[in-house]
Symmetry: C2
Subunit: 416 residues, 2 copies
C-alpha cells in the first residue's frame, strides 16, 4: 500500500485520558481511534492486524473441526430469564418502540444452546463444535486499559456439545493445544501460560491463557519450573502450591487474560431441556464446553509485550505489513527505483507499505516507521543505490544490512 494514500497520520501526543500503553501506541500510530471510554474504531492499519489475528484464530478453530456461524448481538429477554442471567449487571438492556425487552450479548450460551437443540436428537449427531467471530458488549465501569477491557469488543467464541464428560474432557484438551498454537503464532508463546482459574458457577476450575506483562490487570502465581500458573482468585484454595509439581516456589506476576476455556457441564442444557438419545436408548443431558478469545484484547496484549520507547514492534505473523519500503531522497533515480521495487515486490505477493510521501524528511519517515512497527524497514537512498543495494533493518535491532536489489525479492521471500 502507498503510504500517501493511507488516510491516517501518526499523532505526536497520545490523548491525555488514555493511560494504557497499548491504546496510547495504537492511537499515536494510527491503528485505532477512541470514540469513547472502552469503544474504539479500527483504522486501516489496525484493521489489517485485526484480520491477521482473525485468520489465525479461524484456521486453528477449523483445525479442531469448528463450524463457523454468525449469531446476533440483539437478544430477547426470555432466553436470559431461562438461565437466570437476565440480572447480570454488565449486560446492556434496551427496549424496542413496541415495548419488547432486549439485551446486547456479552456471551452466547443462551443463543447457541437452543439453536443446536433444534438439530441434535441422538448420540449420532454428536459431538458438535460451533464458533463465531462476533461483536460483543459489556457495560464496564472501569474501561481504562485501552483494548484490554473494552465496552464493545469482537470475540471468538467456540461452543462444544458432547455425549458425556469424557468426550468433553478430550475436546477440552484439544482446544488447549489450539489455543497454544494461536498464541504462538501471535508471538506470545514465551509470555503466555495456562492458568488454573475459578470455574465460576459451572465447574470447579476453568483455564485461562495469561500473558505476563507488568501492565496486566490480573495477578497470577507462576511456577517457573512447570510453566503453568494459578490465578490469584483461587490461590488460597490451592494452598499456594503449583498444581503440577506441588512446589511452593511460585512467582507472583501481573498478567493479561488473553483466552479462557470453561467446562460448562449441563448448566445450559438443563436450563433449555436439551436431552439426546444415547446408544443405550436413554435420554441424557448434553455436556457443553465454551472457549473464548477477545481479538482486540489479544491485539492490545501483543502491543503491551512488543514495543519499545519508539513505538510498536509487531511480530511477523500479525504485522499490518511485513516490509516498510522507504526512499529517503527526492531524487529521480531513488524515486524511480523505489517505484519499480514496490511494484516488483507486490507482484510476487509480498506485503509492503511504501512510504512514497515526498513532503517528509528522512528523520520523520524513520520516526514514523518505528512508531508503526513493521518488522522490516527497507531504505533506498542515493548512497545505497551506488552499490545497487537497499539497506534492510529489523525493527528493534540496530544492525543494518545491504542487499543487492536484484536479489531482494528472493531474500525477502525467505525471511517473510
Amino acid at each position: 500500500m502507498r503510504q500517501s494514500r493511507l488516510f491516517t497520520k501518526t499523532i505526536k501526543e497520545a490523548p491525555k485520558d488514555e493511560k494504557s500503553i497499548n491504546s496510547q501506541l495504537l492511537i499515536k500510530a494510527g491503528f485505532v481511534d477512541k470514540l469513547m471510554a472502552g469503544v474504539y474504531s479500527f483504522l486501516p492499519l489496525g484493521f489489517r492486524v485485526f484480520k491477521k489475528i482473525e485468520n489465525i484464530i479461524r484456521e486453528e478453530m477449523e483445525n479442531v473441526l469448528g463450524q463457523e456461524v454468525l449469531l446476533p448481538a440483539l437478544h430477547p429477554k426470555e432466553i436470559w430469564q431461562r438461565t437466570n442471567r437476565w440480572q447480570y449487571p454488565e449486560m446492556f438492556k434496551l427496549k424496542s418502540r413496541s415495548g419488547k425487552d432486549y439485551s446486547l450479548g456479552w456471551t452466547h450460551e443462551e443463543i447457541i444452546t437452543p439453536l443446536i437443540k433444534k438439530f441434535v436428537k441422538s448420540y449420532r449427531d454428536l459431538p458438535v463444535f460451533v464458533f463465531q467471530i462476533q461483536d460483543k458488549f459489556r457495560d464496564e465501569l472501569r474501561a481504562k486499559s485501552g483494548l484490554l477491557r473494552a465496552v464493545e469488543f469482537v470475540m471468538k467464541d467456540l461452543y462444544s456439545f458432547h455425549c458425556n464428560e469424557k468426550d468433553l474432557d478430550n475436546y477440552y484438551e484439544k482446544v488447549k493445544k489450539a489455543y497454544s498454537q494461536i498464541f504462538k503464532r501471535c508471538g506470545l508463546e514465551k509470555y503466555t501460560f495456562l492458568t488454573l482459574a475459578s470455574g465460576g458457577a459451572f465447574s470447579k476450575y476453568s483455564h485461562e491463557s495469561q500473558t505476563i506483562t507488568p501492565f496486566g490487570e490480573d495477578e497470577i502465581y507462576f511456577c517457573p519450573k512447570c510453566k503453568i500458573a494459578i490465578n490469584k482468585e483461587i490461590i488460597k484454595e490451592e494452598k499456594y502450591q503449583c498444581s503440577n509439581c506441588k512446589s511452593k516456589k511460585l512467582e507472583i506476576k501481573k498478567a493479561i487474560e488473553v483466552g479462557n476455556i470453561f467446562k460448562l457441564g449441563d448448566r445450559f442444557s438443563k436450563a433449555f431441556n436439551f436431552y439426546f438419545k444415547d446408544k443405550d436408548g436413554k435420554e441424557k443431558l448434553i455436556q457443553m464446553g465454551c472457549y473464548g478469545i477477545g481479538l482486540g484484547r489479544l491485539m492490545g496484549a501483543i502491543v503491551e509485550i512488543y514495543h519499545d520507547k519508539n513505538g510498536i514492534c509487531w511480530p511477523k505473523e500479525v504485522a499490518p505489513f511485513k516490509f516498510h519500503l522507504i526512499p529517503i531522497e527526492n531524487i529521480e533515480k531513488v524515486k524511480k527505483t523505489a517505484e519499480k521495487l514496490y511494484k516488483d515486490l507486490k507482484k510476487v505477493g509480498l506485503e509492503v507499505l511504501y512510504d512514497d510521501r515526498i513532503d517528509k524528511s528522512p528523520g520523520e519517515k524513520f520516526a514514523e516507521a518505528d512508531l508503526i512497527g513493521i518488522p522490516y524497514r527497507l531504505v533506498i537512498s542515493e548512497k545505497t543505490l551506488k552499490q545497487n543495494c537497499i539497506e534492510i533493518k529489523k525493527r528493534g535491532e540496530k544492525k543494518v544490512k545491504l542487499i543487492k536489489i536484484k536479489k531482494l525479492p528472493d531474500y525477502l521471500w525467505k525471511i517473510s
Copy 2:
C-alpha cells in the same frame, strides 16, 4: 465438507410466522435460524454464502480505492445531537449503568465524519474513501420480510470525502459502476436496475439499485427501453416519464432495494465543522457521499430471484459450495470411489459438499440437494460406475450428463 459433519439438517416445514420466500427457504435448508422477528443467525451454509457476498463486495470496494475500517456499533448521544438525528425513531437507545446515553448505529456518518476530520486538513489529503462491513440495528415495526427487512443486519457502508462537488460527482459515477459489478457477480444483473429516488434531507436525488421481483417491498416505474427506473416516492414529481428518454411507457414493478448511494454534500461536514484548506488558501467545507449495501438483504434478494418449487438455485459465485457429490448406494465400490473423488476434488481446490450420510435414501438425498441448491449435483451409483462415470446435473435443469471419472477434475475446473 462432509455433510455428515454439518450440524444443521433440512427442515420439512417452514415456521408458520415466516411469510417471505427468502426466509422460508433459507430456514428450511438450514442456512439461517430465526431468533426473533427480524433477527437471524447465519448457520454454516448461510455463513459461507455470507462470506462469498462479503468478499465480492470487499473486492469491488477495493477497486474503487476504499480503505477498510471497523467502526463501533455503540455510539454516544452527543454525536447524534450534533446532527439533530438523536430523535430518529428507528434508532435503538440505551443507558449504561453509570447513566450515559448510547444508541446503536443504523448508519455511521456521525462516527466517520469527525474521525476523518482528525486526519484531513488540506486539499492534499483529499479525496478519502473509507468503507466497513459491520453490524447495524434498526427498530423496525414491520420486520416481516425475512432477511429483506431485518432489525439487526450486516451492512457495507462506504463514505467518500471530496474537495468539491465535481470530484464527488466523478466518484459517485465510479461507485455506480462498482455496484453494477457487485450485483452482476451475485447473479442479479438481469433483474437489478438503477432507480432514481429521493435524496432525503441531503440532495434532490439519490440512486437505488432495485431488484425486480414480485415480492419486493418497493414499487418502481421501470423504463424497459433505458433499463432504468424511478421510485414510486418521487414519480409524481418526475411526471411519470423516464428520466432519460422521457418516454411515458413505464412499467410498474415490485422491487427490492439492494443498494443505495447518496450525495450528502456538506450536510455532515457542516454539522461537525469539517473544513479543509483548498489550493487557493481558503477554508472550505468537505463534500461527502455515502454508499450502502445490506449483505443479508442481498442474500435474501438472491433467494427471491433464484428458487423453484423444490428449493434454492444459487448462482455460482455466491453458492455455499459449487458441487454436491452424492453417492446413492451403500455399496463398497460406490462409497470407496466417492471418498477418493471427494479427496481428489478437494485437493485441486474445488468446493465440494460431500453427502457421505449412509442413513438417507437416494430420494431423500436428492430432495435435500434441491432444497440446498448447490449449482452442480454429482451422482455416483453402481450404474454410473459401470461406465466409469459420474452423472452431473445442473440445479434447475433436467438434463443429466455422464462424465468419465478420470476426466472429472479438469471438467469441473472448467465449469466452476
